[in-house]
């Protein structure tokens, strides 16, 4: 490969540059060439199973799958030819020879990749004998239906579960025509290691995996779509709600969302039904005694002895419109400030709000109310991290973005059950180079898929005993001028020396259920570049 000039490939007559290591598929897609594909997904390792993306390469006797074909300088590729069309027609013919063409009643109609390519290549029936290979219809969990007759065995569900989520709940099973996607021993989904994040549903190209809430609600083109930020935790995933008549029908990820890409966790994906709950507070409420005093109601009322927290809205409050509510609050705040000064007021903001909202809130408190009495719920769980980061790195903020976790060679997770509380961050651990090298010190055993390389279970409050060996410098001594760079591995060696004693000779027995399979062992740390810290960003309050 030439080092002087930029490397180029010629695809369909167009000369294009390619990123080092890029495949023909990636390069073609980046230049708007739509190579047909069923098992390819930009976030997953190529599988090469669907064979639709075969392309012709000059100098090669046989077509090659563009998803797994690395670009080489000077390579000449054709993505369309009569011969390729013939092969692709045969391949789609084979797909539809075991896939019912029930498109008119199919949930995936309009959003089905097989349908799309059958249309593109004009295949409306199979020329072979039609045989349904997979007949299982598995309704074995509350989240999605598995209808195997529509499965085309592209394996994207298997790969996303393995490479992104790390749950490894499903794999190919059986052989030949009897091959199918299954949980271990074909058990039901709820008995598997599935975490129900529905990432498999997200990537499924057909109706083999369908979210239950949207079944019978309509087809892709009938829904309105609204993109927003998931409100469940501070990770801040982009989520797209499907709406029908103003009601949420389903939630899904969308490609290119800044934090999470296309993938969500079970909470963001399935926990949206509260939005239309009749129990939800939808209008401002004013307590009846105040409302009477303000002339908003004619009925006098006094607060009973029972606590107001247990009050029902209908009993204790009267609903008002927003201008009225804002007016009441503004008047009351003005009264307090006029009488007692701004410092008589304090504001508490929430991690559920966006950065912009939190910024506005503190601005309002400082500039509007005239007080610095403003705080945030993250102080409860985040104060120690801010302190530590400030001492170690000079700033209490995180040194890296969430997406950079995947570039780490080694990840130490302490005091956090990331896979449960912030699953989308754990996806970054799983999919990164550190997937093989993640170390977790935390107070509960939790399967982290293949990502877990070493697990040192600690009793709650004992985590600090594990830590002295990890840091480049003890946090109390601050960030030295030479400590970090001069010997980035000193801490690792200290850990090796010290961790054994901590783990193996504890007074208290190791945690975890007997026989639950989690191991207590000395972490084997791989030397790497200097560590960076990623604390929990605006986490929600954990119970």
């Amino acid at each position: 490969m030439s080092t002087d000039s930029l490397s180029t490939v010629t695809i369909d007559g167009k000369v294009m540059e390619f990123a080092p290591g890029a495949t023909v598929m990636e390069t073609a897609l980046a230049h708007g060439i739509d190579i047909p594909r069923l098992c390819y997904h930009p976030e997953l390792r190529p599988s090469g199973g669907c064979r639709l993306c075969l392309v012709e390469v000059d100098g090669r006797p046989a077509p090659a799958p563009s998803c797994g074909l690395a670009c080489q300088d000077g390579m000449v590729v054709r993505t369309e030819s009569d011969a390729l069309t013939d092969l692709r027609r045969d391949i789609i013919d084979l797909f539809v020879s075991e896939h019912p063409l029930n498109c008119v009643t199919c949930e995936a109609n309009g959003a089905c990749d097989l349908q799309r390519y059958a249309y593109r290549y004009g295949i409306n029936h199979t020329s072979f004998d039609f045989e349904v290979a997979r007949t299982l219809l598995q309704d074995d969990n509350p989240f999605f239906l598995r209808d195997h007759q529509y499965c085309i065995l592209c394996g994207k569900c298997v790969r996303v579960c393995d490479e992104i989520v790390g749950a490894n709940a499903i794999e190919y099973a059986g052989r030949g025509f009897a091959s199918h996607i299954a949980t271990p021993f074909d058990g039901i989904m709820v008995d598997s290691s599935c975490v129900f994040c529905s990432s498999c549903v997200q990537v499924c190209p057909t109706a083999a995996l369908t979210p239950k809430p949207r079944m019978g609600q309509g087809r892709a083109w009938e829904f309105d779509r609204t993109r927003t930020i998931c409100g469940y935790c501070g990770v801040g995933c982009g989520v797209e709600y499907l709406l029908k008549d103003g009601e949420i029908i389903d939630a899904q990820g969308y490609a290119g969302a800044p934090v999470n890409g296309e993938f969500l966790c079970v909470k963001g994906r399935a926990g949206w039904d509260f939005v239309s709950s009749p129990d939800r507070l939808t209008a401002p409420l004013v307590r009846r005694d105040l409302a009477y005093a303000l002339g908003l109601t004619d009925e006098p009322w006094t607060l009973p002895d029972t606590t107001v927290l247990k009050a029902k809205g209908d009993d204790y409050f009267v609903p008002v419109d927003w201008p009225t509510a804002v007016d009441i609050v503004a008047t009351k705040l003005a009264d307090v400030i006029t009488t007692h000064g701004g410092d008589a007021v304090a504001g508490l903001a929430s991690a559920r709000c966006t950065n912009e909202e939190n910024y506005l809130f503190q601005k309002f408190m400082r500039a509007g109310m005239g007080t610095n009495n403003v705080d945030h719920c993250a102080r409860l769980c985040h104060a120690s991290t801010v302190t530590g980061l400030g001492m170690a790195f000079g700033s209490g903020a995180m040194t890296n973005s969430i997406n950079e976790v995947r570039d780490a060679d080694c990840v130490l997770i302490t005091g956090s059950n990331t896979a449960e509380s912030h699953p989308v961050i754990s996806y970054e651990v799983v999919r990164g180079q550190a997937g093989r090298n993640a170390h977790r010190h935390r107070p509960a055993a939790y399967a982290h898929g293949r990502a877990r390389h070493a697990l040192a279970p600690a009793h709650t409050g004992d985590g600090h005993l594990h830590l002295p060996g990890h840091g480049p410098r003890h946090p109390a001594r601050g960030l030295g001028g030479h400590g970090l760079r001069a010997d980035p591995h000193r801490g690792l060696r200290r850990l090796r020396r010290r961790a054994g004693g901590i783990h193996s000779r504890r007074r208290r027995p190791p945690l975890g259920r007997p026989g639950s399979g989690h191991r207590t062992r000395r972490p084997r740390l791989r030397p790497g570049p200097p560590r960076r810290h990623l604390g929990r960003r605006h986490p929600n309050l954990q119970s």
Partner: protein, 540 residues
């Protein structure tokens, strides 16, 4: 006077009752304190006469078979000079001062199977007495590059069937900068009717280990996996036993023979999937995943087991190595053709007189193989075709019998050298049905990952089944041909790419039979049950 009596106790022998024969002989020797050395051994290859008993008496070797356990006393008495008059005893296969005077063995050149049926496979001393591990000692004094050059000069090519030059493959792995390297011995012998690997491992396990040790030395590998199918319990046990013996003797482990080389073996048993014989699927299986092929490149030599450079060869390839170093690359290259040196073992099976394991110099013609060694078809029937390479291979008709057994010459016929399966078909065999049989196998063993293999082979099978049942049409033949092309061109791995070979070769050489099935709805060989819609009409 001492007499040596050997009993072939490989799987083939035991299946025929050799263990009972051995036990009966042992009982006689013990009860009568006879001056007889009784020795278990592997298979000499004459599987059609199992159970085999070989008696070495005054320099004359007599091979008996089949021997029943009731024959034990008579057999021993005959050699001890006390045979009662008129006692015929068990049938004699051969009696010669040199066993190679026996025609079945005489035309063979045994290199990798040379000690099978001669030594006691459980005895390291026996192997050492036959120059065992001498080649390893030699290799440890050589530079790795010199070993690779010797393998190149020997013109050794991969015996798994594809025939990639072995020295070249080793060199690629050798050149990788990664200090962690693996070698793998592919003993996942899955072709129907093939049993070369099994016989070699059961009969002479140390030879395979020695070959792998030399390869490890040449490549710089620290660990060798032997991936063997679990359906070979005797071979698995033989490997474990041999590895333990070799370790005790200092051939395996740390600082081998004081050379500073560290190497150890891991025996990994396969769970019975044919596709795990494909190298990328095999590595996935070792890594603990479901055995499914992955795309190449990257090739294992560069990016193999757990991402490290990995050299994969089959059993016979490794078993050839000690002889190459021992006798020199020129000797080895001299046995074969210009581009392929050495010998190739074949599992001769089917409608052949002398079935069994044979080893021949590369370049021998199929005719010599089938008629001189194999003795032609059984019961005087006419030869029709020989199938090489199992489900990936093809059928070669009688008029191509003078084809040389060589990678290129066989490929030109549409068949392949394959790993050594050779099945002879006589006049009663329907060639459409043979193709159907192999497609039944492949479509069942497809891993399910790629559509042309998973569904395409199924549709090929459906068409072939229809034809053999008299329901086929001329259009079916055209569809079958097109489907063969698609499956061959678009399949992900070798299993699917070669699955059409049995169909394509039979269609090429036995087109008339296909037409007879679809046009006249009759089976010329008379083996297909034609009960299709037109069958009655065609007979009327």
């Amino acid at each position: 006077m001492n007499i040596t009596v050997r009993v072939g106790l490989s799987t083939c022998g035991r299946a025929a009752g050799a263990q009972a024969v051995f036990n009966a002989l042992a009982t006689q020797v013990r009860e009568h304190a006879l001056p007889v050395t009784l020795q278990p051994t592997g298979c000499v290859g004459a599987c059609h006469r199992e159970p085999l008993v070989e008696v070495v008496d005054n320099g004359v070797t007599t091979l008996y078979g089949p021997v029943a356990s009731g024959d034990a006393a008579a057999l021993l008495l005959r050699h001890l000079g006390a045979a009662p008059a008129g006692d015929a005893g068990p049938p004699v296969v051969s009696r010669h001062a040199d066993r190679h005077d026996y025609p079945f063995l005489g035309r063979q050149v045994k290199v990798t199977t040379g000690l099978c049926g001669v030594i006691d496979p459980h005895s390291l001393d026996d192997y050492l007495a036959h120059d065992g591990y001498a080649a390893l000692r030699q290799a440890l004094t050589m530079k790795p590059e010199a070993i690779i050059q010797a393998v190149k000069d020997a013109h050794l090519r991969g015996r798994g069937g594809a025939g990639f030059p072995t020295g070249q493959k080793w060199e690629i792995s050798r050149r990788q900068a990664d200090p962690r390297k693996f070698i793998i011995c592919n003993a996942d012998e899955g072709d129907p009717g093939a049993f070369m690997d099994r016989t070699m491992i059961e009969g002479d396990p140390h030879r395979v280990l020695e070959g792998m040790l030399i390869a490890a030395r040449a490549i710089g590998a620290q660990t060798g996996y032997i991936y063997i199918r679990a359906e070979y319990p005797l071979a698995v046990a033989a490997l474990h036993e041999a590895i333990a013996q070799a370790r005790d003797a200092g051939f395996v482990g740390k600082n081998i023979l004081g050379s500073g080389m560290d190497f150890d073996f891991v025996v990994k048993e396969g769970a019975g999937a044919f596709v795990c014989g494909e190298e990328t699927a095999l590595m996935r299986s070792i890594e603990g995943h479901r055995g499914m092929p992955t795309m190449r490149p990257p090739y294992p030599s560069v990016h193999g087991l757990w991402g490290h450079p990995t050299n994969i060869n089959n059993v016979e390839t490794y078993a050839s190595i000690p002889a190459i170093l021992g006798n020199g690359p020129d000797w080895f290259a001299g046995m074969g053709t210009a581009r392929s040196g050495g010998t190739k073992a074949f599992a001769l099976a089917g409608a052949i007189q002398n079935s069994g394991l044979v080893e021949i110099p590369i370049g021998m013609t199929l005719r010599e193989m089938v008629f001189d060694i194999g003795g032609g078809c059984r019961d005087g029937r006419a030869f029709k075709a020989v199938q090489l390479g199992g489900p990936s291979g093809g059928c070669i008709p009688a008029d191509l019998l003078d084809t040389r057994i060589d990678y290129e010459d066989l490929r030109a016929t549409g068949a392949i050298m394959g790993s050594g399966g050779m099945i002879v078909a006589d006049e009663r065999t329907c060639m459409v049905d043979i193709a159907r049989y192999f497609l039944t196998f492949t479509q069942d063993e497809s891993c399910g990952k790629c559509i042309p293999c998973r569904v395409g082979t199924r549709k090929m099978l459906n068409i072939l089944t229809a034809i053999t049942q008299g329901r086929g049409t001329a259009e079916d033949l055209a569809r079958l041909t097109r489907l063969c092309h698609t499956v061959h061109t678009t399949s992900l791995c070798g299993l699917g790419q070669t699955a059409p070979n049995p169909v394509l070769t039979t269609m090429r050489y036995f087109e008339d039979e296909y037409h007879a099935h679809v046009d006249a709805h009759s089976c010329p060989a008379g083996s297909c049950q034609m009960h299709g819609v037109h069958a009655e009409g065609s007979h009327a």
